[in-house]
């Protein structure tokens, strides 16, 4: 979240798109309802009318997988009807910047596309520069090469009629939503966007979110109270695990994962520490070298400087390599992966095309599975249709301590790192993940010491100072290292720090090896003398806006709303004095911890508000992504349409499909005429691996169901409660038909499109049915590799 949960109550208009917030983040609705009480318009855009829609002021249906068309239409509406926040757009976004004259867009493709490599050469996606290296701009926004004009031209194609023909949303609903949300493009109004996996589970996931970025920048809704783009992260500590590099392309703190092409550590540091031609930009990324060096010092405390403080010991991705879950299971299915450690997951139900995943697991020599319960992955060797005697995999099931049995930090969606204590002792031999990893590490070190090995340095050099006097994993000790410690006595800005003291904030991290820090964004969560600020539970609220600065610790720097420099005008006066997050007053900042200390833009020494961008401004034009600087509509890999009205480019141009015998795709096929989407219900959690054993929850949601419209039921002769089989090109699953008026067929131009939906909360181990992921295709987003769980094609048949 750019903002935080409590802040939602300050919004004048809440757009919930790609999220069933009331269902999957029930507590969010405490704040949504408060906003509504104060008169906010709450909008839900979704393929289904859900528990969320039931509480909204406005509901607009949308064919799954067409968010960019919907939101592109909103961008067009905002520009055409002059609804954007002009001062904000001119001063705080890249709207006035001029783009290379060679940049262009034609028939679904941006300039620089190489069809053979299916990759963009991004040379022309660059800003024009003056001789001194600064960016050329036209503050009147009239130059035809300026970002604003390019944006306007790009989205002029997204008129409501064309949008409606793609999304299936009635034009009058589009209009209502566009009107209501764009009304927040004024200094005294704020609109927020709440989204979740409904946006990210697509082959155009990142571009979906980019649409939000563009809309919120146009309306001046970023950095302000009641505004922002709020990804809803939940109970599994998704926020915390992403911050700590759960994803294969990151190191902790969102530093890029090292690749072969980076070469030496020096070259890596040059790549990550970005430079800028914009003198008014604070360009915080220029500090990334300090964070990278400090990270290596935390990973490998004694690594010599000549090894790049241990950087040379880190595994590297090949250039262009995608090491996410889809290629992982593809390689496993090919037999190239021999061993698999699976911590707290259930890929046999959660990864697309489960039949392939379940077959892939059988090719392993060994698997270590660490979980609190047995699940479909741990027991793949006895799944239906498999003869255990014929499976050669050796499986180890390690009993895990549950979340409530462990001490540590948990980051909520609003970036609050909240310390929690163990509520109960883990039963029997159950251990925390920290204890398990520590023991494995120590054993490996012992073996490498004794027997040597090809490349022992990383194993022998990796830090192990993570246990208490009795050899038990000590979460607070690790948290201190994540915060950062001085590795020797140093003096910075005339202040002397002692070896072993905590680094009191990332501004003090160094590139000379004198600091070790496991994750720069968390730096500051401990005071210099070692006080753990995540444990704070102070309830002071000096701004009256519910920022609670003394409650836990909010990364970065205890800032409660990021980009808050954009909530004031160039002189530092709040755009909306009634909801002032920060203000420049008598030569200093007051309010929330401001995003970068320098004065506001128009004051002496002033800086631009978007300090994490080299440009210093928010990016309407986003040249950083792999698949285009502006979001463009493409159909899901599987959709009912062979073509769409926006271009001849049917799918996202960088799409990677898989070639195994299990990877079959069927688009615009008469055999699979129904759009399907998948989701989760309140009562179960993810694949249900934890909740299906909980009798009160299974009592409330006992088995798999397929939600379908009354119209489709009539066409197929189905009644509510009938047993049906859902079939895709890859597999089939049985479930109960839930015939409901909450799903309406989509009128997409002259074609009527039916949509069905199913939860992915079940698996063969428990009575309720099997996973919806037996149906989903192996394909993902070109930037984030998130699989397309939310839109693919199926058919249904009644089970006699």
């Amino acid at each position: 979240m750019t903002n935080h949960w409590i802040d939602i109550q300050h919004s004048d208009c809440i757009l919930i798109q790609g999220s069933n917030a009331a269902e999957n983040h029930p507590i969010s609705f405490k704040w949504v309802m408060r906003a509504k009480d104060k008169g906010a318009t709450v909008i839900h855009v979704d393929p289904r009318f859900t528990r969320t829609s039931a509480r909204c002021s406005l509901y607009a249906p949308l064919r799954s997988g067409t968010d960019i068309a919907f939101l592109g239409g909103m961008i067009n509406y905002i520009i055409e009807n002059d609804k954007f926040f002009k001062d904000y757009v001119v001063n705080y976004t890249n709207a006035p910047l001029l783009v290379d004259e060679g940049f262009g867009f034609k028939d679904g493709l941006f300039s620089g596309f190489d069809p053979k490599k299916r990759k963009y050469d991004k040379t022309t996606w660059a800003y024009q520069k003056n001789a001194d290296g600064t960016f050329k701009r036209d503050k009147s926004l009239k130059d035809r090469h300026c970002v604003f004009q390019l944006l306007k031209k790009h989205y002029s194609r997204y008129d409501m009629k064309t949008v409606s023909a793609v999304t299936g949303t009635p034009v009058e609903d589009l209009k209502k939503v566009y009107e209501a949300f764009s009304a927040t493009g004024r200094p005294d109004k704020a609109g927020t966007i709440m989204y979740a996996l409904g946006q990210t589970h697509h082959t155009v996931a990142v571009q979906n979110i980019r649409c939000f970025g563009i809309i919120q920048l146009l309306l001046g809704n970023i950095g302000v109270c009641g505004g922002g783009i709020n990804a809803l992260r939940g109970e599994p500590n998704v926020q915390g695990s992403t911050d700590h590099a759960l994803l294969s392309y990151n190191l902790p703190g969102y530093l890029p994962a090292p690749r072969v092409g980076h070469g030496s550590f020096e070259k890596y540091l040059k790549t990550v520490a970005r430079t800028t031609g914009e003198p008014d930009s604070l360009n915080w990324q220029s500090n990334y070298n300090k964070y990278a060096v400090s990270l290596m010092r935390a990973f490998f405390p004694d690594a010599p400087k000549e090894t790049g403080y241990g950087f040379d010991w880190l595994p590297k991705l090949d250039d262009g390599q995608d090491a996410s879950v889809l290629p992982l299971f593809d390689e496993m299915y090919k037999g190239t992966i021999k061993g698999f450690s699976c911590f707290g997951q259930n890929p046999a139900c959660s990864i697309p095309n489960s039949n392939k995943v379940r077959a892939a697991l059988q090719k392993l020599e060994w698997m270590v599975h660490f979980n609190i319960f047995d699940n479909e992955t741990a027991s793949f060797w006895k799944q239906p249709g498999v003869d255990p005697r014929k499976v050669g995999t050796e499986v180890f099931l390690l009993p895990a301590a549950a979340a409530v049995e462990k001490e540590g930090s948990q980051a909520n969606s609003g970036r609050w790192m909240q310390w929690k204590y163990a509520a109960a002792k883990a039963p029997g031999d159950c251990l925390s993940a920290g204890d398990v990893i520590y023991r494995i590490q120590m054993k490996l070190k012992e073996l490498y010491k004794k027997e040597g090995g090809v490349f022992p340095e990383p194993v022998l050099g990796v830090f192990t100072d993570m246990v208490d006097g009795k050899g038990r994993y000590d979460a607070e000790k690790v948290a201190r290292l994540i915060n950062g410690v001085f590795t020797r006595d140093v003096t910075i800005n005339n202040v002397a720090y002692k070896k072993g003291e905590c680094v009191p904030g990332f501004a003090l991290l160094q590139a000379d090896g004198s600091t070790a820090c496991g994750n720069w964004i968390c730096s500051g969560s401990f005071t210099r003398d070692g006080q753990n600020l995540m444990k704070r539970r102070g309830k002071k609220d000096p701004t009256g806006l519910g920022l609670y600065p003394e409650w836990s610790y909010s990364w970065p720097a205890n800032r409660r709303v990021i980009y808050n420099r954009a909530s004031v005008d160039p002189h530092g006066k709040p755009w909306n004095p009634k909801r002032a997050l920060v203000e420049w007053k008598d030569g200093k900042w007051v309010g929330d911890v401001v995003d970068g200390a320098p004065p506001p833009l128009a004051e002496k020494g002033g800086k631009l508000p978007f300090i994490m961008r080299p440009e210093g401004v928010g990016c309407l034009f986003g040249p950083g992504l792999a698949d285009g600087p502006f979001p463009e509509h493409y159909e899901p890999v599987e959709s009912p349409f062979e073509k769409h009205p926006f271009s001849r480019q049917r799918n996202t141009p960088l799409l990677r499909l898989y070639e195994s015998d299990k990877d079959v795709y069927a688009s615009a096929s008469a055999k699979f005429p129904l759009v399907m989407t998948t989701y989760s219900c309140t009562e179960h959690w993810c694949t249900g691996a934890l909740t299906r054993w909980q009798s009160w929850l299974s009592e409330a949601q006992p088995g798999a169901y397929v939600e379908l419209s009354e119209e489709l039921a009539r066409e197929r002769g189905l009644k509510n409660g009938d047993k049906i089989r859902v079939v895709s090109a890859r597999g089939s699953v049985e479930a109960v038909a839930m015939v409901t008026p909450r799903i309406t067929p989509f009128q997409c131009g002259d074609k009527k499109v039916h949509l069905v939906g199913m939860t992915f909360n079940y698996g063969w181990m428990t009575p309720g049915g099997d996973s919806a992921n037996l149906l989903t295709p192996t394909c993902g987003d070109s930037n984030s590799m998130t699989p397309e769980y939310k839109a693919f094609m199926v058919n249904i048949e009644k089970i006699a």
Partner: protein, 215 residues
């Protein structure tokens, strides 16, 4: 005596999350009843010997052709003058708590006539525990509220759909909420507010939510 306690169940704020349904089971130590998926979110389908709280789901299309989905977190109304009490023929089979107004079955109710008990309740609430024969229903969490706590279901509600408090204050809050809702929903009403302690606020005809919502 004071005017006792009351609960608001404001369907206009309910998200159907069923936190209340599960919290009731947890506090009262009630086992799950066997259920199957029959094409609805509503499970268990009704009150039963081990279910005192059920969230009911009703969907349809309004006059404008748009879908609606109504949720009611159903429970005993703790009637101000409980018909069930009048219908009870076993001495000590029921308690009508003076301080709170809670209406509670005791173990002795196993000797009472169940058919009568059920038929006198205008909201079809009482059920029988199959094993013990004791009649059961929501107790207003009398063990909690007599000790300064709010009922388990109210405690779990994330949206403010359920509120517990002194009856006078609750009645005032009900009036305030209904007046506010009427601005956008002309059919908004508090169901049987004068005769029950658990007051449902609805924005449409009560029968659209559930057959026994209104007496």
């Amino acid at each position: 005596m004071s005017n006792g306690k009351s609960i608001i169940v404001d369907t206009s704020r309910c998200t159907g999350c069923r936190g209340c349904q599960v919290a009731c089971k947890q506090w009262n130590g009630l086992p799950a009843s066997p259920t199957t998926q029959t094409g609805t979110y509503q499970n268990p389908p009704d009150f039963n010997g081990c279910t005192y709280k059920v969230v009911r789901f009703a969907d349809g299309r309004g006059a404008d052709g748009k879908p609606y989905w109504y949720f009611v977190s159903d429970m005993c109304r703790h009637c101000v003058e409980p018909p069930c009490l009048a219908g009870s023929s076993v001495e000590g089979g029921m308690i009508h708590d003076e301080a709170t107004g809670a209406v509670v079955y005791t173990a002795r109710s196993k000797d009472d006539d169940f058919e009568t008990a059920q038929s006198v309740c205008p909201y079809n609430v009482p059920r029988k525990n199959e094993e013990t024969g004791v009649m059961v229903k929501c107790t207003m969490c009398i063990d909690r509220i007599s000790n300064g706590m709010v009922p388990a279901c109210v405690q779990s509600c994330p949206t403010g759909a359920m509120v517990f408090g002194d009856r006078d204050e609750i009645l005032a809050e009900v009036q305030r909420r209904v007046a506010e809702l009427k601005k956008t929903h002309p059919k908004a009403q508090a169901v049987d507010a004068d005769s029950v302690r658990v007051i449902f606020i609805v924005t449409d005809d009560p029968e659209r939510y559930h057959t026994h919502l209104k007496a």
